[in-house]
């Protein structure tokens, strides 16, 4: 088990490093669809969509919210340059709800400039995405009471 190659995963945003560590598998929301990355993956560079990213460490998935950016795989090193990213456990649900309400209220207004509209829409998308990832995280933690299933070789 210890002989298995692992992926070195780094997730950074313009503000800070969100995650850094070893993983057995990474599942990411690529702009062309969900991607699963295992060790010895071919070099890959893709843009990211908005959604949930999962990092599997010792059979346990850790969820993260990512929105836009790039994912690079090279030599078992996975680098994510995200426009926005947050660990699921760090998501402030009340804060995200508030952001969603504000964005919805902004979209209700008439005579909004195209710029303001698209930025409010972006806010809304991110807030909803955050809430969803937080929700998925909660259900997963609930399931984790049972011991995680061992991965078969």
């Amino acid at each position: 088990m210890s002989q298995r190659p692992t992926l070195h995963v780094t997730i950074v945003t313009a503000q800070q490093t969100v995650f850094e560590g070893e993983a057995e598998m990474v599942i990411a929301p690529g702009s062309e669809g969900q991607l699963g990355i295992l060790p010895r993956h071919a070099p890959l560079l893709t843009t990211l969509a908005l959604g949930e990213m999962r990092i599997r460490q010792s059979g346990v998935d850790e969820g993260l919210f990512v929105a836009g950016g790039f994912l690079e795989v090279n030599n078992d090193i996975v680098t994510v340059l995200a426009d926005d990213a947050e660990r699921a456990e760090d998501i402030d649900v009340a804060h995200a709800e508030e952001a969603r309400r504000r964005a919805e209220a902004a979209l209700q207004q008439r005579g909004l400039s195209a710029d303001a509209q698209s930025s409010a829409f972006g806010e809304l998308e991110r807030a909803v995405g955050r809430l969803k990832v937080a929700e998925l995280h909660r259900t997963r933690v609930g399931h984790r009471r049972r011991p995680p299933r061992e991965l078969e070789d």
């Binding site: 950074v12 313009a14 893709t46 090279n74 340059l81």
Partner: protein, 290 residues
């Protein structure tokens, strides 16, 4: 010698000034620490992006043909001047402004004396400098706050890339005070456009043949603006850290000087007071013996 009342007034005035400079010094030092943390936290992103770009520039030839990377004959230039909004920070702003002026002279020497140079100001001190010296100011961004938002940076980046793509400038530079340490900040010049692929890092083995998803062109079209944004965002954070550091140091010096002055004045005051008392006693003694 000034009258005791005069000296007492000055002592009070200096005490008041000391209170202000000391308060500003405290505020600046706490903001400085946060700004320094932010600079350090933001570094990994720009480092990773730079590394990625250097890996890519090695293998993708068409990368160099993108409009943002292609070199053009230089008929005009633009300078992005990043400065703090506030003052009371010693010579920080004037050093950056002077560096920008010097850059303009260098550019004209290299590309012809009548090279039109336009300025984009980020921060009030630089804006004031450009207006005062009657240079061409095409855009200004002030009051971005202590935590510049990515949306602000996007707006700045868009103005800069538009200027370049509309052929209003064939060369774009950015001048900012780079944060070295609390006491050292150096005015620094970076070339923004055309984008210069970062020097290739020394890595073992040949450059990897990437699978691009959706395709190389789309990815580069997204990657380059992002790179330009970090080339603006990072200096913005550095400027803030530099500013609060310089302000903290300037205010500390002001407080020290004021304290010293206060000591001198108190001494003079006591001497004057004593002299007055001595004269009075002498007068009384003289009066009684008469």
């Amino acid at each position: 010698m000034a009258s005791t009342r005069e000296i007492r007034r000055r002592i009070q005035a200096i005490k008041n000034i000391t209170q202000i400079t000391r308060a500003l010094q405290m505020v600046a030092s706490s903001k400085m620490r946060r700004a320094q943390d932010r600079v350090l936290a933001a570094r990994p992103y720009s480092e990773q992006l730079t590394k990625l770009l250097s890996r890519l520039s090695g293998q993708a030839e068409d990368l160099n043909e993108l409009p943002l990377m292609r070199k053009r004959p230089v008929k005009s230039a633009a300078i992005v001047l990043v400065t703090p909004d506030g003052g009371l920070a010693g010579a920080l702003s004037s050093n950056v402004n002077r560096r920008a002026g010097q850059l303009a002279i260098e550019l004209r020497r290299e590309h012809g004396a009548d090279l039109p140079i336009s300025f984009i100001a980020v921060g009030r001190k630089g804006r004031d400098f450009i207006v005062r010296t009657r240079q061409k100011l095409v855009a200004e961004f002030v009051k971005l706050g202590d935590q510049p938002k990515l949306s602000d940076v996007r707006a700045i980046a868009r103005v800069i890339t538009d200027t370049y793509l509309n052929q209003e400038a064939d060369l774009v530079y950015l001048v900012y005070p780079k944060y070295i340490s609390t006491v050292v900040q150096t005015p620094t010049v970076n070339q923004l456009l055309p984008v210069q692929p970062p020097a290739e890092a020394e890595e073992s083995g040949p450059a990897p043949q990437y699978i691009f998803e959706p395709d190389a062109t789309t990815i580069f079209a997204e990657l380059l603006p992002r790179y330009i944004e970090t080339l603006i965002y990072q200096p913005l954070l550095e400027t803030l850290a530099s500013f609060y550091s310089a302000q903290m140091v300037a205010m500390r010096n002001a407080t020290d000087n004021a304290t010293e002055l206060l000591g001198d004045l108190t001494l003079t005051y006591n001497k004057a007071r004593q002299a007055a008392i001595t004269t009075q006693i002498l007068e009384i003694v003289a009066g009684s013996s008469a």
